[in-house]
């Protein structure tokens, strides 16, 4: 469908369908383009002069900041590698986060080719002093070589690069050069390693590595990536929606963290172009004044504001969009009348997004909100709530679907969820619980701590490699024993039954009286990610009512509070439980386990006591319906610490036909016929 653009209120930075008016904000896109070309030129001709540069682009909501990203991506094609980064709502960004985003987006396609292919192809061309303008041809040439010959070529290229830039990380360079030539599975493993993800043993074996990228190696990896990219296709890091950095209660901390990150990137890396986009008011009043002089000199090398379309440009936009409609009934001004078009074009402060919303309304035969008698948002709470009530359920559903997609893709690459995003989602949901005051840490293993000394710390254990899980668990065990904590792991990533040492550590965690093991269900995880996404969009004024006016963040939060009840979500309830209660319930054996195999509707209590029965195993399985044997063992051990695997299996076998076995490790409860 060509008309999908009508429904897209927020531009998709990776969309291949781009309806663009080049004259609009031509200066801003030209400025980025010139900088990219200059960086490439310096990298090739005068590496000593190669520096990272920063640029700030400002504009009101809906003026086309994200669209500009899509335009630049299309315009520069294989001449640059684009990375789109949205800041987290609560947690700070680190160089490891930036590296992860940069490498993950190398596998994005831009202009029909993988960004990694464009980068490596042009790099090979340059290293051979041959035809730099034909990256795909170079890749194809190398693909036709035998593996040995290709390996030799890669080694020679690495040597050539190291000769020119001795401080590069050679193993990073070598693995990056291998990316276009390996099988999809190896490619996935290579990208996971390059991104600094924790790789499982099979992935490490596949790429010939003994360990994952070290925790403190992110900055060096970014330095290497930036320098390599500058030679062929410079890396353009686009930090979008920076208004999300601003938070009423911890303004200084998050903005200072961000300023330090940018200063570190500019000082320590070469050849990066850092583009920062934000709402003009938020940047001018809330962000830039908080930078110190040193941060400002790095982050704000150049600053520009995006323009709103002139009446002539608005008219051209309408013509452009009209041409993209499916079977328009008549030429322009249809679906408007001429008077409506004239009125629209003369409206002061008209943004492209408002115009698009008006076109969609006219196309659907609705009245055009912008031309009706205005009802200011917020002037009547009832009217605003009605308006929000029409839009927000759809927005929530769309984000929930998107969150499920990201969970699926994480599962496909055999990795855990993006821990930063998940952590942000937990903090977003926790902000709706009245007595819960948590904060993000910059630590790798203990991601969340209570803000005022009371409450629980949270460790997200989402590593795929058993030894990494073990490291995370050991770190959790190092927490002072009197401090209550919660260890969260995705329910769909069970620890391998063969990883004995890790399972022992898990048992040790389970035995800690103040520590709770929480298995996060898919739906729960999706809700957390979707909530974070929704609140980010609200903060950036990207959620519009039916009249095209942005809904206020307060309105969106009140919708979430009234309709979604995050404070009742299982993980949040668990976090809100006071430790003495937890202990007492444990002792009394009354509390149902927080381990849920499937999503529980928020309104249903997850803490119902297990049904009475002679067998503990039976009651647990009755509740879970389907579970792995390991899971059952853990559940039983929570209630009776001395339980053994043998006892659990024996009880299961004793249940006879009421238990269906799938293989040796999966059981399902069957109702008696």
């Amino acid at each position: 469908m060509k008309e999908t653009f009508l429904g897209a209120v927020h531009a998709d930075p990776w969309s291949e369908l781009l309806l663009d008016l080049p004259a609009l904000n031509a200066q801003a896109s030209d400025s980025v383009e010139q900088t990219v070309l200059r960086l490439r030129e310096f990298a090739r001709r005068d590496p000593g002069q190669l520096r990272s540069e920063s640029l700030v682009l400002l504009g009101p909501p809906g003026t086309g900041k994200t669209h500009l990203f899509a335009r630049l991506r299309k315009k520069l094609g294989p001449r640059a590698v684009f990375v789109h980064i949205r800041p987290l709502l609560h947690a700070g960004m680190s160089t490891a986060f930036v590296l992860k985003q940069a490498v993950e987006q190398l596998s994005r396609t831009s202009g029909g080719r993988f960004q990694a292919d464009a980068l490596v192809g042009s790099l090979i061309g340059l290293a051979q002093s041959a035809l730099v303008s034909f990256p795909t041809a170079h890749l194809d040439e190398w693909r036709s070589l035998t593996p040995e010959a290709r390996k030799q070529q890669i080694e020679e290229t690495v040597d050539a690069l190291l000769e020119r830039f001795p401080d590069l990380d050679d193993s990073f360079v070598e693995r990056l050069l291998q990316v276009p030539f390996v099988s999809p599975r190896e490619r996935r493993a290579l990208l996971a390693w390059l991104a600094g993800h924790d790789c499982d043993p099979s992935q490490l074996e596949r790429i010939g590595a003994s360990a994952s990228l070290p925790e403190d190696g992110a900055l060096r990896a970014l330095q290497t990536l930036g320098t390599m990219a500058a030679l062929g296709a410079p890396l353009v890091l686009v930090f979008d929606q920076l208004e999300n950095l601003v938070q009423r209660d911890q303004v200084e901390e998050r903005i200072t963290q961000y300023g330090n990150l940018i200063a570190e990137l500019v000082d320590s890396t070469r050849g990066l172009l850092i583009v920062q986009m934000a709402l003009d008011s938020e940047w001018e009043v809330g962000i830039e004044p908080r930078f110190n002089l040193s941060q400002r000199s790095r982050a704000v090398m150049k600053k520009a504001s995006l323009s709103l379309p002139t009446p002539a440009q608005s008219n051209e936009l309408l013509t452009l969009w009209h041409a993209a409609l499916d079977a328009p009934a008549a030429p322009l001004p249809w679906p408007f009348t001429r008077e409506q078009v004239d009125q629209l074009l003369q409206l002061p402060g008209l943004t492209p997004r408002m115009l698009l919303t008006a076109l969609r309304e006219a196309r659907e035969g609705q009245s055009i909100g912008l031309l009706e008698q205005p009802t200011p948002v917020g002037s009547s709470p009832e009217a605003s709530l009605v308006s929000a009530g029409e839009v927000l359920p759809e927005e929530w559903h769309a984000r929930l679907v998107s969150a499920h997609h990201s969970i699926d893709s994480a599962e496909a690459r055999r990795g855990g969820l993006d821990s930063e995003r998940l952590c942000d989602g937990i903090l977003s949901a926790a902000s709706f619980a009245p007595d819960l005051r948590l904060r993000a840490t910059q630590k790798k293993y203990i991601q969340i701590t209570p803000r005022e000394g009371q409450g629980r710390w949270v460790a997200l254990v989402n590593q795929p490699h058993p030894s990494s899980i073990g490291a995370a668990l050991r770190r959790a065990l190092q927490q002072p024993p009197h401090l209550p904590g919660l260890v969260v792991r995705e329910q769909w990533c069970p620890i391998s039954p063969t990883a004995g040492a890790t399972l022992e550590l898990q048992d040790e965690v389970l035995r800690r009286p103040h520590v709770t093991w929480f298995e996060l269900g898919r739906e729960q995880a999706a809700q957390l990610l979707a909530l974070d996404d929704l609140l980010q969009a609200a903060r950036s004024a990207d959620i519009m009512d039916s009249a095209g006016r942005p809904l206020s963040e307060e309105l969106v939060r009140s919708y979430v509070r009234e309709e979604l009840h995050p404070e009742r979500w299982e993980l949040i309830r668990e976090l809100a439980l006071t430790p003495p209660e937890t202990r007492r319930q444990d002792e009394e054996g009354e509390r149902g386990s927080v381990l849920e195999a499937t999503a529980t509707p928020p309104s249903v209590s997850a803490h119902e006591p297990p049904p009475a029965g002679d067998s503990t195993v039976e009651s647990i399985l009755l509740r879970l319906r389907i579970a792995s044997v390991d899971r059952l063992i853990r559940e039983v051990r929570r209630l009776r610490g001395t339980a053994t695997r043998h006892e659990v299996v024996e009880q299961l076998e004793g249940l006879g036909s009421r238990v269906a076995w799938y293989g040796r490790n999966l059981v399902e409860w069957k109702e008696a016929s």
Binding site: L21, A137, Q313, G349
Partner: protein, 356 residues
């Protein structure tokens, strides 16, 4: 035969020939007014009609003229001439010497019009040439320098020699080379600077070098009948810095010369000065509440929000909606004009090349 010393008079009730070169038969006062071969006097006639309708309708013209002369003071004559001249300026952008009244009052009329912001030369008064140029450019026109005097009312070719550098230095227009001709365009039109052209040249040169390598390689392998894959060729061409077609960002609606003609009542000059003083160096943005407060300090009777909206309609400023979260206090929000969707327009920026 006319007696010596007698005054020639026309009896408009009689059929007679027009005293000018026109051959049209005269049929009373109406035909007399219609008959104006040059067309120059129509505006003045209309202005006179408006000024003395009662005399015209009841008296014979000679009597009316006599009585009028007797009754009108110098001030009244100046006022009449000003009406005529302003009408001419609005209509044609220029008022000729004749439209400025009799030689006795002409100096006074010229002086008053100059105070209103019009330009005066020895022979005429006109809308300032810079303003006329800015208006034409804002409508998307591109004016060859050699034909500039033809497009500006009351401008001689000689004057354009001094005018063009002035227009460029004051950023009203930008001079570009189109073909072999120098052309004036709006400063908002995207330009390609020398550095870009030099970079493109370099890039093309490199590309040509690469092409030579390809050509050589193809020549060596010509016996094998080899070629270059179209998609590789397209990819290589796509990487070249080909210029994009930029459309003019001129406003669509045509403004009448009245709208852009400066006058003492026009708060634009005032506003522009304040915007320049308050705007951010990099982004060009100024806070609307700050601008409104400053405007009010200098003249409390000024409707500042209205002045901003008028400037926006004239394409002189860009008003931008508020994009912050509670950054605008209720007091500040009340100072901002309302825009699309009733959003407060809290930021303003001078449009490049706005009429000076």
């Amino acid at each position: 035969m006319r007696k010596p010393g007698s005054v020639k008079r026309f009896d408009f009730r009689r059929r007679s020939k027009c005293p000018k070169s026109c051959t049209e038969e005269l049929h009373g006062g109406a035909a007399r007014r219609r008959c104006d071969p040059s067309g120059r006097n129509r505006t003045a006639q209309r202005a006179n009609r408006l000024a003395v309708p009662a005399l015209r309708s009841t008296m014979r013209p000679d009597m009316a003229a006599k009585k009028g002369k007797a009754k009108k003071s110098a001030e009244e004559q100046v006022a009449e001439a000003l009406v005529t001249a302003r009408a001419a300026l609005v209509e044609n952008g220029v008022a000729t010497a004749k439209q400025l009244g009799s030689p006795a009052i002409r100096a006074k009329v010229q002086e008053q019009l100059q105070r209103e912001g019009f330009e005066a030369t020895a022979k005429l008064v006109r809308v300032p040439l810079a303003t006329q140029t800015a208006q034409l450019l804002s409508q998307g026109e591109r004016i060859p320098v050699s034909r500039l005097h033809q497009r500006l009312a009351g401008c001689t070719k000689k004057e354009t020699t001094a005018l063009v550098p002035l227009l460029v230095s004051s950023k009203v227009a930008v001079q570009v080379l189109r073909g072999k001709e120098l052309v004036l365009v709006a400063p908002t039109d995207p330009l390609t600077d020398a550095a870009t052209i030099a970079a493109a040249k370099k890039q093309f040169k490199n590309f040509v070098g690469e092409l030579k390598k390809v050509e050589k390689w193809l020549a060596d392998a010509s016996k094998k009948k080899v070629g270059v894959l179209s998609e590789d060729w397209a990819e290589a061409l796509g990487a070249l810095p080909l210029p994009e077609l930029h459309t003019s960002s001129a406003p669509e609606t045509r403004q009448s010369s009245q709208e852009i003609a400066p006058s003492t009542d026009d708060p634009w000059h005032h506003l522009k000065g304040i915007l320049v003083a308050l705007s951010d160096e990099d982004t060009g943005l100024a806070s609307v509440p700050a601008v409104v407060r400053r405007l009010r300090e200098e003249g409390p009777e000024v409707d500042a929000a209205q002045a901003l909206l008028t400037a926006h309609r004239r394409g002189l400023v860009e008003l931008r909606p508020e994009g912050g979260f509670g950054r605008l206090s209720p007091e500040d929000a009340a100072l901002c004009p309302k825009g699309a969707g009733e959003s407060p327009l809290s930021w303003v920026r001078l449009v490049e090349g706005a009429a000076s």
